[in-house]
């Protein structure tokens, strides 16, 4: 576990900003922008990822232990809800050469959004939709990952075909995307991020280029 954390933190340090270039070029130096990676947040993200590596296949072992319990670290979600959202989030944005949704803490972001960002009626509707989903897919958490993915892909297809009546999934997918690409890993490793571009420069390239996060 320690090795994993160290490896991850090292990977996360790359390509952060151009502060030195800026200071070299302009010698202003009056303002130092804190571009340093927030190590604590990375460790949290990694810790979640460690849990996340159990998902989705091995989650069955945990399934019946505390279904209705509320984790002290969540504001709104129960442990079971958190796990369900974690599985769906990681199917929407899975681990590739960068962490997936769970690996960057998207479920915690969703918990924050339900508690603080969304209107109370939106949160109520979301939780009701989540409850409805769990009832319709009673064995979702214990199902094989291929089955879980089929369920989510079906939802995504339905949302595309008939955008009404799937508010829970629409909202969830939006929160997963926002939570992922505004995270430090999502913005700076998965996408390209430059806090101080130094100017606007159109260019041509024959290679695929990462999109700017901001």
């Amino acid at each position: 576990m320690q090795n994993h954390i160290a490896k991850f933190a090292d990977n996360s340090k790359v390509k952060i900003g151009k502060c030195n270039r800026f200071h070299f070029r302009f010698q202003m130096g009056r303002k130092t922008i804190n571009q340093g990676i927030d190590r604590r947040q990375i460790l949290i993200g990694v810790a979640v990822l460690m849990g996340g590596s159990l998902l989705p296949g091995s989650v069955a072992a945990l399934e019946n232990s505390d279904a209705g319990a509320r984790d002290a670290s969540f504001s709104v979600l129960t442990k079971k809800q958190f796990r369900t959202l974690s599985v769906i989030a990681d199917i929407i944005l899975p681990e590739t050469d960068t962490p997936g949704a769970v690996g960057v803490g998207v479920p915690s972001f969703i918990d924050w959004a339900l508690d603080t960002w969304l209107l109370p009626e939106e949160t109520s509707a979301f939780l009701a939709g989540l409850e409805n989903f769990s009832q319709q897919n009673a064995r979702f958490l214990t199902a094989k990952s291929a089955v879980q993915e089929t369920v989510v892909r079906s939802l995504d297809q339905q949302l595309h075909d008939l955008p009404t009546g799937l508010e829970f999934y629409r909202q969830l997918k939006e929160l997963v995307l926002i939570g992922y690409y505004t995270s430090e890993i999502g913005a700076t490793l998965e996408l390209a991020y430059d806090p101080i571009p130094g100017g606007y420069q159109p260019f041509t390239t024959e290679n695929s280029v990462k999109a700017w996060a901001t």
Binding site: R30, W117, L118, L119, P195, P197, Y200, T205, T214
Partner: protein, 572 residues
């Protein structure tokens, strides 16, 4: 007969109410001419640089990733939440509407967007900077809407140059009569999609020009600007959080530091000025009454000259509340103009499109300005649908992750697709002129006051037929322009919007030839009170269709120079 008192009898030579775009300029000009100047601002103190708490931060460094709680926005920021620049990063720089209420009447709505700090909206502005032209100063006289401007382009031309050289305006000379060139620093670049769109549109419509937006960003800072601690724009486009480098012009980055280094400025934040005090015997303003919004202390401050630059509606609010036996309805008020002829630009209509190709083109940096299409309606192309006209802002960008919201897909292929630069897209949105109309006005509530005892401002303002026809045309023409550019999936839009949200509010103390039609003369001096000046948006006799801040700056510098002459010659 004027009775000139000795300067020693006053607390200050000059009082400037408001430290935004206009007040900052008056403060600089008067301090540099040696006048002891008090600058009073309703906002909290904000130290340039040190107090820009969210500057340079990534979204992950804020609890809401940039998002303001929707409940909080609805409860505390009823109007401000509608501003394009309002988010978790910039929230602190906007006023909390709930703590500073105003009312609307006659069933109309006004979205008044206000700042919370010293520097006012100069911290929050969109920085597009354009001169008005001779056509704009002649418009009221020629079509009879609104009173005639008492000045013409030639009166302001050199003052435009003066403020541009100090503020720093990037742009390109185009030689267009309806949009005179400024004294420019080099323009930002167009990307290839924009260059090709420009060529296609200008070929299809020879009377229309697509130019790079002119904006108050330093691209070639001068010694004077560097001496003030400013540096070149870094293309972060996070301006409203505050910019420590002073890459864009604000009072905090430019005019207030210039005023401060003279040693002549006393800056008083948290100062709600409630009235300008009038002395009937001398027929002069003697000073202002203010409330310290933190301590609640009420203070009278005297000065030889008073400039009210409290933002268009803030200025009208104070002047209407400056009641005396001689002026029971507000200092200098003849009943014809003060509080009336409120205007804003008409906005919220345009079009968007997607663009095939250009896969091998991208850009680095977040350009802090966009393209501009100067007014062509009733300039190079006449229409009988409406009088006056509008301009467009717009740009081509490549989609990024947020365009995946609402898109179909899950899994690795979905994620890998989002990772790469998305398709090109284009948007155009118009800003149109609003005619001055007497019925669009503000008044004081007879029954309600704010927490500091100031009567609430009541606003009654609505767009009229001419503005609505302009808005229709902005949508249709934007579609036509994007078609000419050869784009696909063109979608026009025409959002319901109310005055205020263009954040170009103007009028309510307009300039004119006589007290019978206006509040101010051609020097921004109150017709009936010689030592009272107004140089902010309230002074505007018409709106033109250009972003107006540059004109506020030029009027402010010009009026300050005039006040200086009058003070030196003993008239004031």
């Amino acid at each position: 007969m004027k009775t000139v008192q000795k300067p020693g009898n006053y607390d200050f030579d000059v009082i400037v109410v408001g430290s935004g775009m206009s007040g900052g300029w008056v403060a600089k000009e008067m301090c540099e001419r040696g006048y002891k100047t008090a600058v009073l601002d309703r906002g909290e103190a904000l130290e340039h640089g040190a107090d820009y708490k969210t500057e340079g931060k990534g979204p992950w460094e804020l609890p809401g990733r940039g998002n303001v709680s929707k409940q909080e926005a609805l409860q505390d920021y009823e109007h401000v939440r509608l501003c394009y620049a309002f988010d978790e990063f910039t929230k602190r720089h906007f006023i909390k509407d709930r703590d500073h209420p105003f009312t609307v009447k006659d069933g109309k709505r006004f979205d008044w967007i206000r700042s919370s700090s010293v520097g006012g909206k100069s911290l929050l502005w969109h920085r597009h900077s354009y001169r008005l032209s001779e056509m704009d100063f002649m418009a009221n006289k020629l079509d009879g809407h609104g009173c005639d401007w008492p000045i013409r382009y030639d009166d302001l031309k050199d003052w435009y140059s003066y403020v541009e050289r100090f503020a720093g305006i990037s742009g390109a000379a185009e030689g267009l009569p309806q949009l005179p060139d400024s004294d420019f620093q080099k323009p930002f670049e167009m990307n290839q999609v924009e260059k090709d769109a420009k060529a296609s549109i200008e070929t299809a419509f020879p009377g229309r020009k697509v130019i790079m937006g002119r904006c108050a960003h330093l691209t070639e800072p001068t010694e004077e600007q560097l001496d003030l601690g400013r540096g070149p724009c870094q293309a972060r486009n996070e301006c409203q959080r505050g910019c420590s480098w002073g890459g864009y012009f604000s009072s905090l980055s430019a005019t207030l530091p210039a005023a401060d280094r003279t040693g002549n400025m006393t800056l008083i934040p948290n100062a709600q000025v409630q009235e300008v005090v009038y002395d009937e015997a001398t027929r002069r303003a003697t000073g202002v009454r203010m409330v310290d919004m933190v301590s609640g202390d009420r203070v009278f401050i005297s000065a030889r000259v008073v400039f009210v630059c409290a933002s268009t509606l803030g200025t009208a609010h104070i002047l209407l509340n400056s009641r005396s036996t001689a002026f029971p309805n507000g200092i200098g008020n003849t009943g014809h103009a003060l509080g009336h002829y409120l205007m804003d630009h008409v906005s919220g209509a345009g079009a968007t499109a997607m663009i095939d190709g250009y896969e091998d083109h991208y850009y680095s940096g977040r350009r802090p300005t966009s393209l501009y299409i100067p007014r062509f309606r009733n300039v190079t192309e006449q229409t009988d649908k409406f009088i006056r006209g509008y301009g467009f802002q717009g740009e081509a960008t490549r989609a990024s992750w947020n365009s995946a919201i609402g898109a179909k897909g899950v899994g690795k292929e979905f994620k890998n697709k989002i990772q790469l630069q998305g398709p090109w897209r284009f948007w155009l949105t118009g800003f149109g002129e609003m005619l001055p109309r007497h019925e669009n006005h503000v008044s004081l509530s007879a029954t309600e006051t704010d927490a500091w005892g100031m009567p609430l401002l009541e606003i009654s303002c609505a767009y009229g037929d001419n503005e609505n026809r302009i808005k229709d045309d902005m949508q249709q023409t934007a579609i036509e322009l994007l078609q000419a550019a050869g784009f696909r999936d063109i979608q026009g839009f025409r959002r319901e919007s109310y005055p205020g949200i263009a954040i170009h509010e103007m009028g309510t103390a307009r300039m004119g030839h006589s007290p019978e039609d206006s509040y101010l003369n051609g020097k921004n001096q109150c017709h009936l009170v010689d030592n009272l000046f107004v140089t902010d948006g309230a002074a505007m006799t018409s709106t033109a269709c250009q972003n107006p801040s540059l004109t506020f700056m030029a009027l402010s510098a010009r009026a300050a120079a005039y006040a200086d002459e009058q003070l030196k010659s003993g008239v004031l």
